[in-house]
């Protein structure tokens, strides 16, 4: 008997009971149904990873009880050495062309500045690191007395530069809190519950474009309990074997292959969106590019170089309908320049989204989604750190 036979004998478990098989099947069908086959709207605007129990990508994999918490987040680490140097470089450039100090500046000019700044980043590290904070506003309570809670979480990725190196993924739920002052009153009136059930009835319909080009209505994301209590620590998970271990919810787009040439990048992104990559019915090249560039900047789920970010800014610079909103404070309190593009009804884009960029450093700061025009903010993704680093997450 050889060692492989030994393993078979020692590790074999009894076959599944019919009950286990049925339970697994029911769970799969429920999650697949609720998740809409990862077809819900532009995926990066959906509440990314609330419960980690559904969807594609590592974040959906329920690592909560398995991942190793090894550290608390050491605050924001936005500027790495390479970034700082490049920011200084960009500052010189800024002084030369100047940013209009009063009123919204020309969007194109600011985005080209951001592109030039981003292009100057040359540093390379052991990992390409990205850390984002995501906030999603959800309606909770009873249908008669609904109120809104903002639930937040942090996700971080260390994509190894070498394919032989291991990467890391870490996350921490920051808990849910009343979204505004009136919501706080409603929450307290409900007895300040630690867990609140989201109201499923408010969920919007989402669409999926089939291979025949027709849009099919799908159920929106499922009802969930929101927990007001934050997780104590980051859960840190080693992702063995280069980038292979990182799953993505953009399975048909490998962001590593994105071009730093704006024309080529545009082709790549449109190729992706036209084949249903956005998972939603977003019509028109401009609307699709706006959405795809936001994915590249704020939710790439893979390593994106500063040069590709630069090309993304250049695409936005030439995109019809993009407007500057002037200086803007992002959800983390940082100053940047905001840009928006309001989708028209025929584009299938509900609401407005805006992005916040620091044109001087070239760093993407945040994106926000709003209900309608001038409505409430419904979601945000704020980039807490992005760039090369040699340091893996601290271990216990």
């Amino acid at each position: 008997m050889d060692e492989l036979k030994l393993i078979e004998i020692v590790f074999a478990e009894p076959d599944p009971t019919p009950q286990a098989a049925a339970a697994g099947r029911a769970r799969f069908l429920r999650l697949a149904h609720e998740d809409g086959g990862s077809s819900g709207g532009p995926r990066f605007l959906r509440p990314v990873h609330e419960d980690g129990s559904s969807g594609a990508g590592p974040r959906f994999l329920r690592p909560a009880h398995e991942g190793r918490s090894r550290r608390t987040r050491p605050g924001r680490r936005l500027l790495y050495g390479g970034w700082a140097a490049a920011a200084a470089l960009a500052l010189v450039f800024t002084l030369v062309i100047g940013i209009p100090s009063a009123g919204p500046a020309d969007a194109r000019e600011l985005l080209i500045l951001a592109a030039n700044s981003s292009e100057a980043h040359k540093a390379r590290g052991r990992y390409t690191h990205m850390e984002v904070e995501t906030g999603v506003v959800e309606k909770v309570g009873s249908p008669e007395r609904p109120y809104s809670m903002l639930s937040r979480r942090v996700d971080a990725w260390w994509y190894p530069t070498s394919k032989d190196d291991d990467g890391w993924y870490a996350y921490r739920k920051l808990g849910a809190e009343p979204a505004g002052a009136e919501d706080a009153v409603a929450w307290r009136a409900a007895g300040s519950p630690a867990r609140v059930r989201s109201l499923c009835t408010q969920a919007a319909k989402v669409y999926k474009v089939g291979p025949d080009g027709k849009a099919v209505e799908q159920p929106a994301h499922p009802c969930e309990d929101l927990d007001t209590r934050p997780q104590e620590r980051m859960e840190t998970i080693r992702m063995a074997g280069g980038l292979a271990g990182f799953l993505t919810s953009h399975p048909d787009l490998d962001v590593r292959n994105l071009s730093a040439d704006p024309a080529r990048l545009k082709e790549q992104l449109l190729g992706w969106t036209r084949s249903g990559g956005l998972g939603g019915m977003v019509e028109g090249d401009a609307a699709q590019l706006w959405a795809a560039v936001r994915m590249v900047l704020f939710n790439p789920e893979g390593p994106v170089s500063p040069q590709v970010r630069a090309a993304s800014y250049r695409i936005l610079a030439d995109l019809p309908g993009v407007r500057s909103l002037g200086e803007y404070t992002d959800p983390l309190g940082r100053k940047g320049q905001a840009f928006t593009r309001t989708g028209e009804g025929s584009e299938g884009v509900a609401g407005t989204s805006r992005i916040v960029v620091d044109p001087v450093s070239g760093l993407p700061l945040a994106e926000e989604g709003y209900e309608g025009t001038g409505g409430h903010r419904t979601s945000y993704i704020a980039v807490r750190a992005v760039g090369p680093t040699d340091a893996p997450p601290a271990q216990e």
Partner: protein, 184 residues
């Protein structure tokens, strides 16, 4: 209907994907139960299928079979449950006073022999690199060939071979270079 056709058609008709679940549930259950223990492992199998379901648009039949694709996803599930895998290995590395095996005489002897060398075997497995352990379990519990393992893990076939050789060598060493059947 071929697996590949099921995947293709499920893009239009998502319910069809349940066919694949029915075809491969037991296989993935055995694999994941062997690696992570059987406690609620059906949930993990369901999660693996959900990932496959959500990623089915990106499945490329040129690259390999649906079966190896599913085992690759299941291996990623294992990767995200390292602690659980560690706990299982720890538990199995301890000698237990379990009830003696029952059944056909030859099988009983095999089980007794395996039981006797269990601590060393498990220690050997714990000492393997994760990638080597993946290959070994895919070989033993997935019944995959080298090519299929290569597709599942997205590594060259040659690497599968060298991982198997390295793992077996280490395991034999951990077992004290003895053949447990002959010794006992």
């Amino acid at each position: 209907m071929e697996d590949v056709t099921v995947v293709e058609r499920s893009l239009n008709d998502p319910d069809l994907f349940a066919l694949l679940y029915d075809r491969y549930f037991k296989d993935l259950y055995r694999y994941l139960a062997a690696r992570l223990g059987r406690d609620h492992v059906e949930d993990l199998v369901a999660d693996a299928f959900l990932i496959a379901f959500n990623g089915r648009g990106g499945f490329d039949p040129e690259r390999g079979t649906v079966r190896s694709w599913l085992y690759g996803i299941a291996t990623n599930v294992v990767a995200r449950h390292r602690r659980r895998e560690g706990r299982r290995l720890n538990a199995l590395s301890k000698v237990s006073a379990e009830t003696p095996a029952e059944g056909h005489e030859e099988r009983v002897i095999s089980q007794l022999a395996a039981e006797a060398s269990r601590p060393e075997l498990v220690r050997g497995l714990k000492g393997l690199a994760q990638g080597d352990r993946d290959v070994v379990f895919l070989l033993v519990f997935g019944g995959l060939g080298y090519e299929e393992i290569a597709t599942a893990l997205d590594i060259p076939v040659g690497t599968v071979g060298s991982r198997v050789n390295r793992a077996r060598k280490k395991l034999r060493k951990a077992l004290g270079d003895v053949n447990p059947m002959r010794e006992r």
